[in-house]
Symmetry: C2
Subunit: 405 residues, 2 copies
């Protein structure tokens, strides 16, 4: 496609929700039931009403996602035509709701949630902080995309407040552990991939089938209690340090909108095993993330720097025959680039708390304070030369609730 994609809808300059994007979400109009919509400019199109299809009169994208890639293409083409051709305006315009008058919900019901660890810069930084004196990358890191399962039931929509969790940790390595509110509440700026079409048990999904199963992309903030995580994670991995809340953005950008964002990943050395070897059209993605703390830009993590692509993550996740379900979410792990101002977590930005981050106005942060608000946004090149936006994932920290008794 060349030139700006067309629409009769008024799309403000820099909206990110132009006609080359068309992300999906779930919204509830004032006093109405939640349903599936597509964002355009400052509005959302009620798909059940506009297309007359009850699959969209659902409180989650899942029924539509389960219909598979041919159907995803068909609906995207119909929506593009409805919003692109002036002749459909009389029909479609009554089904457009202003975004500032609707409530946005969790866009899909999460089946299993997997979190990867795909940034070499992040893994090396965390390794240096968590395992000082040892090599920053574990011996397996460049042979497979390391991942683990997270808690699907605590994935929450953007805007949900995050209560500072309590947990067990050991501030003094020579004293017994303590239980109390985390002192090292952190964020992880991540990109999430939403599985639409399931796979069969026992049948790995090859790299080439990525777009047949993954519907689209959202933003993820994997809130982390670093002191809890550091004490608990050996030998079975992160658990309560992560499971209190994981926030996702309200919009899922379809893979189809990201054709111009595909890019070559960094060189991989040593070459990964055959089932992870991407040939001609790898799924590196040129997404530019921004992290804001109380409104101040504190980091610009570049997704293009990720070592492992989402197609490799999916191929690995299913390499043992594990089946995919509609609504599975897998996230990239913290997106960190090589530069200091490109790190996607406070643990990295403040180097484990040793080098506080200075905010405009004289404030400093190592980890999050009660009342802090974190917002992650991203943009990517669109197929029509515009910038595609991912909306934002945001959350404010509430004080810990003291344990009863």
């Amino acid at each position: 496609m060349t030139g700006a994609a067309a629409t009769w809808v008024d799309v403000p300059e820099g909206s990110g929700f132009g006609p080359a994007n068309l992300p999906y979400g779930v919204f509830a109009p004032s006093g109405g039931e939640p349903r599936v919509g597509v964002a355009i400019g400052g509005r959302v199109l009620d798909l059940a009403a506009a297309l007359g299809d009850p699959v969209f009169a659902a409180p989650a994208l899942n029924p539509f996602l389960a219909q598979g890639p041919a159907r995803w293409r068909e609906v995207r083409a119909r929506v593009a035509e409805l919003l692109g051709d002036e002749r459909h305006r009389a029909w479609a315009e009554p089904h457009l709701h202003p975004l500032d008058g609707v409530a946005l919900r969790l866009p899909f019901e999460v089946a299993d949630y997997v979190d990867f660890y795909a940034s070499e810069h992040h893994a090396a930084n965390l390794g240096a902080l968590f395992r000082p004196g040892q090599p920053p990358l574990t011996p397996n890191w460049k042979h497979l995309p390391i991942g683990y399962h997270g808690r699907a039931g605590t994935v929450v929509p953007s805007g949900t407040p995050v209560v500072r969790p309590c947990g067990q940790y050991r501030p003094d390595p020579d004293a017994p552990p303590v239980y109390g509110p985390t002192r090292r509440l952190d964020i992880e700026a991540e990109v999430g991939f939403v599985v639409g079409a399931p796979s069969k048990p026992g049948e790995p999904v090859p790299l080439s089938a990525f777009a047949e199963h993954v519907f689209g992309v959202c933003l993820v903030n994997d809130w982390s209690a670093r002191d809890v995580q550091a004490w608990e994670y050996v030998p079975l991995g992160p658990f309560l340090g992560k499971s209190f809340a994981t926030s996702v953005s309200p919009w899922v950008v379809p893979l189809a909108a990201l054709a111009a964002a595909r890019t070559a990943p960094p060189p991989r050395e040593p070459a990964p095993p055959p089932y992870l070897r991407d040939g001609g059209e790898p799924w590196g993605l040129d997404l530019a993330l921004e992290v804001r703390l109380n409104g101040h830009l504190v980091s610009r993590p570049p997704y293009a720097a990720m070592y492992w692509t989402p197609a490799q993550m999916l191929a690995h996740l299913t390499a043992n025959g594990a089946a995919l379900r509609t609504g599975d979410l897998f996230a990239s792990g913290t997106v960190s680039g090589p530069g200091r101002e490109q790190r996607g977590s406070l643990a990295e930005l403040s180097w484990g708390g040793a080098e506080p981050l200075r905010l405009p106005g004289g404030a400093e942060r190592t980890f999050l304070h009660d009342g802090d608000e974190v917002s992650i946004t991203a943009t990517a090149p669109g197929t029509d030369g515009s910038r595609i936006g991912f909306g934002e994932v945001t959350g404010r920290v509430l004080p810990a609730r003291p344990p009863e008794g």
Copy 2:
């Protein structure tokens, strides 16, 4: 209660499904839709028909579980009366189906699946095998019940064949890893706890509220590919070494049936932190497990030897405010006792493959061969002096499917 509980149903000697048990499952009569039933002797009572309540005309226990503990008590009392009082026989008997004429399904839809590591004997054995030269228990082990999230979407009902998974592992520590069928396919004999009533986000579930949230108990076989697990698990824990299949028994024994099985757990030293300190009525459980390989009894793991109780696991799981959902499953981790013949995994029984297990007839096993069948059963003291049975969780190993391309 004293003396055998009464029933007009013919319960064969040693059935395990006497009137003091009344476990719940999901069954499909020949040509019929799956629905909820209660096992008694060699039969299953169709609850939707017998009680005239559509909550049981569902392919999973979840809608009933969500109704909460007062309702669970009420239904158990009604079923006990229906099956106990001869006057109800004419009404109820037509709703009893012979177990050998029905298909048993996954009893509940799994929300999140968490696997603990609560046996000191197992953790010490695995530590010695996976981390030779280091202390067998990690420093955190006696301070908290270590756990991690598993893959809910690959929890399968007993009887589902298990295809030998492929994966990445490194047989030679000085050579690159290889990808292929696991050479170390193992089992883990575990006990699972099924959450019925949800909890609110941000509100930890104290030890005293265990029975208000947990509905019942099932058996779990957490199939494991030890070579894959050993290569992948540092630093984020087990992933593909476990996520290909986790089998559960078809029957969920209500906590209410286990009153006589409650027992004191082993002494805990050092004392756990206050939120994990169980006082007068701890939830140790005297379940006697048996593991059979191709019909031969190979182990008798004693659940009463577990260091952490399921109430402690639940209190820890929610200590950071993580919410529970109906259908959450948490498992104990491998049940291993102090004795060699009480170990719940082949890795332990064969000491990492170094000491093959000798089976009657001259066969030997370190890890599982294609065609092997593993079955785990358990019994517990019932409130009427009988032995309560948990049925069995069984599965046969099928050969690996070679990867395509």
